[in-house]
Symmetry: none
Subunit: 213 residues, 4 copies
DNA sequence: TATGAATGAGCCTTCATTCAT
DNA sequence: TATGAATGAAGGCTCATTCAT
C-alpha cells in the first residue's frame, strides 16, 4: 500500500548541490531513468550516455542537473534507504510483540520491493562495490542498523519462547534477509503474484516449516 | 554421453597447439587468479591488467593463454556448473524419497559453496549480465535444468504428503534457492560456521519453521 | 585625433542597443570580475562560469552583456593598452632629453603596474597566446610601437653620450622591459614597497650599476 | 657548455611508475615532444592528442608510457630544476667572492636558458599554476632555495663593500632574476646572440649601470 | 536582465586486444 | 611464453555558447 512509498523526492529535501538547482522536476525524471538503467544493467555497465539517450538529451547536459554519475547513484540510494530504515524503526517501536513485529518487518520488506524494485535491485547488486566506494559508507551503516533491529526482534522472540531456540539468530536472520530481498530478481509488480501474497507464502513457510507435522 | 564431457577440465577441451597439453599448469593458475578477482570485484570491474598484474606478467601476455577475457569467465563457469548439475542429477537419481533428496540437494549446495566460493559468487553476481550475453546461454539452460530437479522433488513431496500443500512450489523453491546461494556473500570457509553446520541450521528452520509449536 | 579615441571606455565603443547607454554599470562590474580572474588563474583556466559565479549570476546570463569570453579579454586589453601607448607617446613628446624621458617612461611603467596590476598581469601572461590569436593583432602592434619609443630614447641617449655605447640597445631594452613588467608578479599595491620607491630603486641600479666604484 | 646539460634523463634516475617502464628510449622522445608543446602553447592549452599526433601515435597510447599528462609535466620540471639547483649550490660553494659568484650564477643562468629553453619557458609560464597545483610543491621549494643562494651572495657583497648598499637586496634580486629568465621569451639559441654574449651584456649593464660616468 | 535547460565539441583517461620481437 | 608498443573504441566530464521563457 501507499505506506511503502517514500513520497517526496530526496532532491526536494536536500540543499543545493552542483549548479544549485537540486529540486527541479527534470532532475526527478532523470533520476528515475538512471535508477531504471542502473538496476537493469548495473551501475558500472550503465554509461552516462545511456541515461542521456533515454532522456533524449546529450550526455553532457546531464551535468547541468548532477555533478557526477556517482551523485545520481547516491541520491537514489539515500531516497530508498533513509525511509526504509525509518519505517523499520517505527515498526519495531509500535509493534506489540516479537512475533507481530517480525511479521510486519517482513511484510513491509516485500511491500518495499514492490514499491521500489529498482532501488532494491540496485542495493542488492551493487552492495559489494558500495562497501569499497568512499562516500557510500552510510549504506553499510544503515544496513547495520537494520540488521540490529531484526536481530533484536529475533532474540526477544527466542527469549519469550515464540521462536525456537535451537537455531542461531545470526544465521536465521541472514537466511530470512537473503530470501526476502533476493525476490527482487524475479518478482514483477504486475506479475501473477501480488506482494502481499508473496509475503503470506513466505510467512507460512517461515512459521511452520516446509514439512507437515 | 554428456556425463563424460563435463568430467574433463575446460582447459582440456580447448586445444591451443599440436600435442594437446594445452591445459597447462600456468593456464590453471591464471584462471584461478582471474576467478578470484572476478568474484571479488566483479567481472566488468576486473581489468585484464589486474589479472596480469596479479600473475606477474603483462596484460598482453595473457592472450597466449586465453583468447579473450570472456573465455576466462566461460571456462570458470563451465568448470563449476557442469559438475554441479551432474551431482544434482545423481542425487535425484540415487535418492530414496523426496524428503531425503531435498535434504541432500541442500547439503550439497552448501558444500559446493564451501568448495567453490569464487565460482558461486561469480554465478550469483553476474547472472543478470550473463543472461544478456550471447555465448553464455548454457548458463541459463543449466539453471533451468537444476530448477526442474528441485521443483520435481518439491512436487513429489507435496504429493506424497511429506511437504505441506498450502504453499506454492515455485515460490518455495525460489525462497530456498536464494537463501542458500546468497550465503556465499557472507560465508567464509575458514570462519566460525562449518558448511555442514550451516546446512543443518538451514534444514532445521526449513523443516519445522521458526516458531515453536 | 587618436588621442580622443582612447579616452572613452571600450564599453562606450561597442553599442548593444539603441540609445547607447550600453556601457552600463553592470558591464563594468562584470569586466572587473573577469579581469581579476583572468589575471589570477589565467585566461584559458578561467571559465565563463567562474566569472558568473563571482558575479552572482548564471553563466548564460553573461551573454547579455558580452558576446563572448574573448570580447571580455579584448575589452580589458584595449582599455589598458590604448592609454598606455598614448601616455608613452606624450612622455616622449614632452620630454626634454633622453635621460629624463627614459626615467619618466620607467616611472610611468611602475605607476601603470600599480594602477592596473590586473591588466598588466594579463598582458604579461597571455602575450604568447595573444600573438597566435586572430583578432588580437593590435596587441602586438601596440607592443611594437611602444618598443620603438623606448629604443629611440635609448639610441638618442647613446648618441648624446649620456648612455654608454658598449651595450646593445636591443638587449638593454629587453632587460629593462622584462625587469619592469615582471614586477607585476610580486608587486602588491598595498605591500611594503610603494611603486615610486620601486621605481627609484630600479633607476638607482640602472643608472649606476650594482657595483660600487 | 656541457656543464649546463643535465645529462641522463630523470626517468633513468627514477623508479618505476605506471607500467613500470620508466627508462625507455621512447619515453624520452615523447617527453621531449611534450615539453616542446607545453612550452610553446602552454600546458593547459596542449592536449594529449597534440602530443600524440606529434609523436605519430594515438592519444591513448601515451598512457603506456605515462600515467597522466601531469606526470609528463612533473618529469620535465624535475629534470630541469633538480640539476639547476645543484649547479647553483656548487657555484656558491666553489666561488671565491660574492662578485665572482654572482657573475657565475648569472652566466650559468643564461647557459641554462640556452641549454633547456623549453624547460625554462615552462617554468616561467606555468609557475602561477604550479603554485596552486598539489603535487608540485617542490617547484616552489626549489625556487626558494635558489632565491636564498642569490640573496646570500648579494648580502655578502654589500657587506664586503663590492655591491652598493643603497639598494634593497630583495628588489635587486627580483629585478635581476626577472630580467634574466624573461630572456627565454625572445632568446633563440640559433639566433644572432650567443648566450655568453647575452650574459656579458647583462653583466656590463648590471656592474656599471646604463649611464656613463 | 536573468534563468534554466540544452548543445556540441572536445578533453583526459581506460581498457580489451593485437602483434612484431 | 613473454615483452613492449600500439590500436581503437568508449567513458566520464567540462565548457563556451544558445535560446525560449
Amino acid at each position: 500500500m501507499a505506506a511503502g512509498r517514500s513520497g517526496q523526492t530526496a532532491a526536494r529535501r536536500r540543499g543545493t548541490r552542483a549548479g544549485g538547482n537540486s529540486g527541479s522536476h527534470r532532475r526527478g525524471e532523470l533520476l528515475g531513468i538512471a535508477a531504471e538503467l542502473f538496476a537493469t544493467r548495473g551501475y558500472a555497465e550503465t554509461t552516462v550516455r545511456d541515461i542521456a539517450d533515454e532522456a533524449g538529451i546529450l550526455s553532457g547536459s546531464l551535468y547541468h542537473h548532477f555533478s557526477s554519475k556517482e551523485e545520481m547513484l547516491d541520491e537514489i540510494l539515500r531516497d530508498f534507504l533513509g525511509p526504509l530504515l525509518e519505517r523499520f524503526i517505527a515498526i519495531e517501536k509500535e509493534g506489540e510483540n516479537p512475533e507481530q513485529i517480525l511479521d510486519e518487518l517482513i511484510r513491509h520488506s516485500f511491500a518495499a520491493i514492490d514499491a521500489s524494485p529498482v532501488a532494491v535491485a540496485l542495493y542488492q547488486n551493487e552492495s559489494t562495490m558500495l562497501n569499497r566506494q568512499s562516500g557510500f559508507e552510510y549504506v553499510a551503516e544503515i544496513g547495520k542498523k537494520i540488521e540490529k533491529i531484526w536481530l533484536q526482534v529475533l532474540k526477544a522472540g527466542q527469549k519469550s519462547g515464540v521462536f525456537r531456540s535451537d537455531v542461531d539468530v545470526n544465521l536465521s536472520y541472514r537466511f530470512i534477509r537473503d530470501a526476502i530481498w533476493s525476490t527482487v530478481r524475479w518478482y514483477r509488480p504486475r506479475g501473477k503474484y501480488k506482494h502481499e501474497a508473496v509475503a503470506v507464502q513466505f510467512l507460512t513457510v517461515l512459521h511452520g516449516g516446509l514439512h507437515t507435522t
